[in-house]
């Protein structure tokens, strides 16, 4: 009975994940006119009127969802590990699959006992990783082109997200170790999950089915 009146707002990561996320939502039964996506509009209504999509930077997805401005979001696990938002994550979506790795120019540096200089966009993940093994690190927080840091001698190694490994290769870096796997997650605001239980339950089921079908290559 409340199903028809409940509108859900979904925050979608712009960039790397966007195309796959939209494809998945379309398979899950959401639809929108193609020109509504072509424009630079940051908010798009689904044709059924049940969903509103907003497009924001990956790191901002948990911010919108945690505050309840968006009910749900699609975001990489890397962002969730780095920001540790207080969210529900009921679905792994099997898109945007990649690894969070430590990469360096050579493995030799692991034998040194001094301070390890680590350049990264993920200071919390890096600190946790090296902290767990008692390695003292100097974290150098960068916002992009992290691969450059070891090349120029700014850092001994980097902690970064790697999809194919080509950028690493082209900059003479190789993977020293894999910290964890990452893929996109459907995240849900805690209050929305309870107050819009029916609509969100339905979204979880249909996106879950779509993920399954996509994995089976349908």
């Amino acid at each position: 009975m409340t199903k028809l009146t409940t509108k859900l707002t979904l925050a979608i990561s712009k960039g790397r994940l966007q195309t796959d996320a939209l494809d998945l939502l379309q398979r899950a039964g959401l639809s929108w006119s193609s020109d509504s996506l072509c424009t630079r509009r940051l908010a798009v209504e689904d044709e059924s009127g049940c969903y509103r999509l907003i497009f924001v930077k990956p790191a901002d997805v948990p911010v919108y969802v945690e505050h309840g401005v968006a009910d749900c979001g699609i975001v990489g696990r890397d962002v969730l590990l780095e920001w540790e938002p207080d969210l529900l994550q009921p679905l792994a979506l099997n898109i945007g699959v990649c690894r969070i790795v430590v990469a360096a120019r050579s493995k030799a540096l692991w034998n040194q006992f001094g301070m390890l200089r680590v350049a990264t966009k993920y200071p919390r993940i890096a600190a946790k990783h090296f902290g767990a093994r008692g390695v003292p690190v100097d974290l150098i927080e960068l916002s992009g082109s992290v691969e450059l840091a070891p090349v120029l001698g700014l850092a001994d190694c980097i902690v970064d997200l790697v999809e194919t490994g080509r950028t690493l290769q082209e900059n003479g870096l190789s993977i020293v170790e894999v910290i964890t796997q990452s893929s996109a997650r459907l995240v849900v605001n805690r209050a929305s999950y309870q107050l819009k239980a029916e609509a969100i339950g339905q979204l979880i089921r249909s996106v879950g089915d779509a993920t399954q079908r996509r994995a089976n290559g349908d």
Partner: protein, 375 residues
Amino acid sequence: MSEPLSQIPAGMRYYCGQEARLRRAIETAVMSIFDGWSYEEITTPTIDYYSLFEHGMGPAQAHRAFRFSDGDGRLLAVRPDVTSLVARAAATLFAQRERPLRLCYVAPVFRQQPESHADWRRESSQIGCELIGANSGVADIELLAIVCEVLQHLGLDRGCSITLTDIDVFNGIAEELKLDPDSRDEMRRLVDTRNSSDLEQFLAQCSDTKDSHALSRLTQISGKHEILNDARESITNARSRAALDRIARLWSVIESLHLSDHFAIDLGDVSRLDYYTGLTFKIYVDGTGSRIGSGGRYDSLTASFGKAEPAVGFVLELDALTDILLGRTESNSPAKSSTEPVLITGTDLSALFRAAMDKRALGERIVIDSSEVAP
């Protein structure tokens, strides 16, 4: 180097005007409902030993407190939680008092690190009540009935959801899997975030149970009473089953009171506070991104202070309630603005204040106008 005096520390704020009046009105309304159910007000210390909170809330939550050391080197904390303090008083100061004890409070709690990014406050006021030493089955319903009355009184009963679970459903499973404390906490975290894919992996790793898939569904079991049958299919251990039976009994009373519209069961809602032992619940209201209150049973907490007895309680977040009610412009708002004050003017100081005091003696609302007083 001097700091700018204008700066307010993160997570702190002032309240004034309409907002302050509304806060006070909500506080008064809720406390008078508590009084109506014969709950007696208790004021607890603002600062106490950190070990008390660490023991009560569990280290992970207590860590979020503002901490500093006393003159003798012992670690103190600015109250991050009231329940631990009340439970200790019940087991010590009130040990000889007749049971059940019904206590209520309104008090700010302080947390150096908020639980979520959306929760920016580091000082937030809690209104709560605790029922100690009463028959559990009756006490649980008494508290839920009080919660319903409060929501109704504040006009928040439409579009609210009180989600129930029994922490023993989870505990029974953790016990069956023979998890060590760290794995238990990891599993609790995965269930709490409804992370069924990681949970399934986790269960496959750490157990030889035949059916990790069935257990990982725990995260998705929510709804009205019919989900209990669903739960019984995947959950077979005795401790969890007993907990499911308790929820079923509670639900039938809720239904008979015609309150079931306000309630839902959510077995994935496993609380982060270590002291809960049985029923736990969270209160959500339309228009907020986070819960406005929570509560539950904490039977072993008083035992750790020297007197084992059943106990149950809940808190409401005064700041969250104020935010919602401020946003609603209903005429029955609990904060009615006061009557216009009578202006008291005059040139002579003693005449001015004689007039003022006379009006006050009649109970009138006044404001002193000093503009005509000779300098």
